[in-house]
């Protein structure tokens, strides 16, 4: 391995120091109240996955360079050099294991945001050439796609013509379209790879009579999981530039937790500019369409016992607790809540890019036990979750632990219960 440039790493840390980070690094009393907040520590009982310890690794570097007494007596704080191999290895394991659910922050008496500290860790690891290579490859592929979009466009048009037919069938309207590249549309919808998030959205937008267009790019942002803000911005730029070019008023992000977080809460900070359009999550959009009477649902049309999983990036980190529940209560005859739920909900175990990383599979399934037990306790045979990451993880857990669950996206759940006046 090439030698690590210590001074360069120190600069990375220095650039990341802001007021909030200082609070987090200065205040922790190492009380470990966070231990039972983290599903990974709860299952593994390994200190490496204890939120306070994850943060402590960065704190040890910080103390060594930035605290007056830490500089004089680094031992007193277990201060470490930033190029300490052992520390960087531990940091790698724990940082790329964190799902970014921020449940520890909820329970911390000082509101310490471990995920934010690990964001700094990721920047340091990337600068040291020790970032997660799988996530890096995926990120680079996304950026490449942005540069060569004309190559992908034809494939996409082909794919969409099939989906369009399905939308027409569903809505009973032969003129239903999946527009792409439509300048002046009101809405740009960012979906995921594949058609499973395009079809239901197209049906919903069509019924709500919205002037929309489909983004050529998938909403997912592996750059964010990789923790390289510059690359993550490049990935997000693809959609932002497209939205600017098409002059849309609103960008609606599909059921993808981190993609919404990136666009809604992070992008403006990365780009240091205000976005000229509104960012909405599809959960919020569907809820609004229902309230405005634009789409109609058949009440009580879903008969089986069903539960709802709050994705961390939709619930705790974005505030949509009531919107999905309104839909659940409207459509499901037997809606069963998990305990705990809402802002206290357990992470499914698949966030933070873990589902994209085959090396994490075993760990992810193991630590998904908390969620599995929670679902089992409801006795539900179906589950809804408006986040692709969660659904992939839930699907894995379903197979591994034989849960016999039907896993739905909220969009599919809505479309299945929707009244299509044009159809029959």
């Amino acid at each position: 391995m090439e030698s690590i440039n210590k001074e360069a790493l120190k600069k990375v840390l220095k650039a990341k120091i802001n007021r909030q980070l200082l609070y987090y690094l200065d205040l922790c009393a190492r009380c470990s109240i966070c231990r039972d907040a983290c599903h990974q520590y709860t299952v593994t009982k390994d200190v490496l996955y204890l939120p306070a310890y994850r943060a402590e690794l960065i704190r040890r570097i910080y103390k060594k360079y930035y605290s007056p007494l830490g500089r004089l007596f680094p031992k007193f704080y277990e201060g470490r050099e930033i190029d300490d191999e052992k520390l960087l290895d531990e940091l790698f394991t724990t940082t790329y294991a964190c799902t970014g659910c921020r449940r520890c922050m909820y329970y911390c008496p000082f509101s310490i945001d471990t995920t934010w500290i690990l964001g700094v860790a990721k920047e340091i690891l990337n600068a040291a050439g020790k970032g997660c290579s799988i996530l890096e490859e995926l990120t680079n592929a996304s950026i490449e796609k942005g540069k060569n979009i004309d190559l992908f466009k034809d494939i996409m048009v082909d794919m969409l013509s099939e989906t369009e037919k399905e939308v027409q069938q569903k809505t009973g309207d032969k003129n239903a379209k999946i527009p792409i590249d439509k300048e002046g549309a009101d809405i740009l919808y960012a979906a995921l790879a594949g058609t499973h998030t395009i079809l239901p959205a197209a049906a919903i937008f069509h019924e709500a009579k919205k002037d929309w267009t489909l983004s050529l790019f998938e909403a997912a942002n592996y750059g964010y999981f990789l923790g390289d803000a510059a690359k993550a911005k490049e990935v997000a730029d693809r959609i932002v530039d497209e939205a600017k070019k098409l002059k849309v008023k609103e960008v609606i992000i599909t059921e993808c937790g981190h993609a919404y977080r990136v666009m809604k809460f992070l992008y403006e900070a990365w780009a240091k500019e205000k976005l000229p359009f509104k960012v909405t999550g599809i959960v919020e959009a569907m809820s609004n369409y229902i309230d405005e009477g634009l789409i109609k649902l058949k009440p009580g049309s879903f008969k089986d016992p069903i539960t709802y999983h709050d994705p961390c990036q939709v619930g705790r980190n974005a505030g949509f607790f009531d919107e999905p529940r309104k839909i659940m209560n409207m459509v499901a005859k037997d809606f069963r809540e998990m305990t705990p739920r809402r802002e206290k909900n357990w992470c499914c175990g698949g966030g933070g890019g873990l589902v994209a990383n085959p090396e994490m599979e075993e760990f992810r399934i193991k630590t998904g036990k908390v969620k599995t037990d929670q679902i089992k306790a409801t006795g539900a045979t179906s589950i809804v979750s408006p986040c692709e990451n969660c659904r992939l993880q839930l699907d894995n857990l379903n197979q591994k632990f034989d849960l016999g669950l039907d896993i739905h996206s909220l969009m599919d759940f809505v479309v299945d219960a929707m009244v299509f006046p044009g159809n029959k």
Partner: protein, 239 residues
């Protein structure tokens, strides 16, 4: 005043106060000179109004109910510890000036009884959380998480409490004696009144003050900054 006492209960007190003020200023100015995070880091649901946020921050900082939900033992010990410490600290101001309104209410004897009973009770009560704070560090996961600072602070506190309790339970000093000593500090002529200077227990008082000085000197450079910073950090969660 003997030399040892003059140094640790005299000169060192001024050093401690000076280091504390300079250190706190340095740390707090350091926080506010750092740029604010461009990303809002709040968790949902957030309070809708400014007043709502203000009270949520107070609640999160003084009661931290979320922590109770996840770790009852630590929460109970934390509340007992911080609560007793706060009352003990406030009660020490009686050694600067008599709490006249309280004396008017209870009478002089009543006040002395309250002081004796309250002091003895809290002096014992506070031993339990501090021992909890010490012994939990010997167990996993604290064992692997702890740094020398954690043990150091607990041990300093144990010394402060031990000498303080010794004074409360065994020394034959009166509030007037302490007040004379504090007054001497305030006029920059530190000395013990005769009752203290002639007693063997003066060593205990000097040691108590010395460990408090160490604690106060170390305060700004330690995790104890959480006592101030908790408000700011909890506000970030509600932003």
């Amino acid at each position: 005043m003997d030399t040892f006492s003059f140094i640790v209960a005299g000169v060192m007190v001024y050093i401690a106060v000076a280091v504390f003020i300079i250190g706190m200023t340095y740390q707090i100015v350091g926080w506010f000179r750092a740029p604010k995070s461009p990303v809002r880091l709040g968790l949902f649901p957030k309070p809708r109004t400014k007043t709502g946020r203000f009270f949520k921050v107070l609640k999160d900082s003084f009661i931290f109910p979320q922590s109770y939900a996840v770790d009852k033992a630590t929460w109970i010990f934390a509340i007992v510890f911080h609560g007793s410490l706060l009352i003990i600290l406030l009660a020490h101001f009686r050694l600067v000036r008599e709490f006249t309104p309280l004396v008017n209410l209870l009478g002089k004897e009543g006040m002395d009884t309250l002081s004796a009973l309250g002091g003895k009770t809290l002096g014992i009560v506070i031993i339990f959380p501090i021992l909890f704070y010490l012994f939990r560090r010997f167990l996993s996961p604290h064992k692997d998480l702890s740094v020398p600072e954690d043990y150091f602070l607990v041990i300093i506190l144990i010394f402060i409490i031990a000498f303080g309790d010794h004074l409360r339970f065994f020394a034959d000093f009166h509030v007037e004696d302490y007040r004379e000593y504090v007054q001497s500090l305030l006029v920059f002529r530190p000395s013990y009144p005769e009752a203290i200077a002639n007693s063997d227990a003066r060593w205990v008082l000097s040691s108590h003050v010395m460990f408090v000085n160490i604690f106060v000197i170390y305060f700004p450079f330690s995790k104890l900054m959480h006592i101030i910073g908790t408000f700011a950090a909890n506000k970030v969660r509600s932003d």
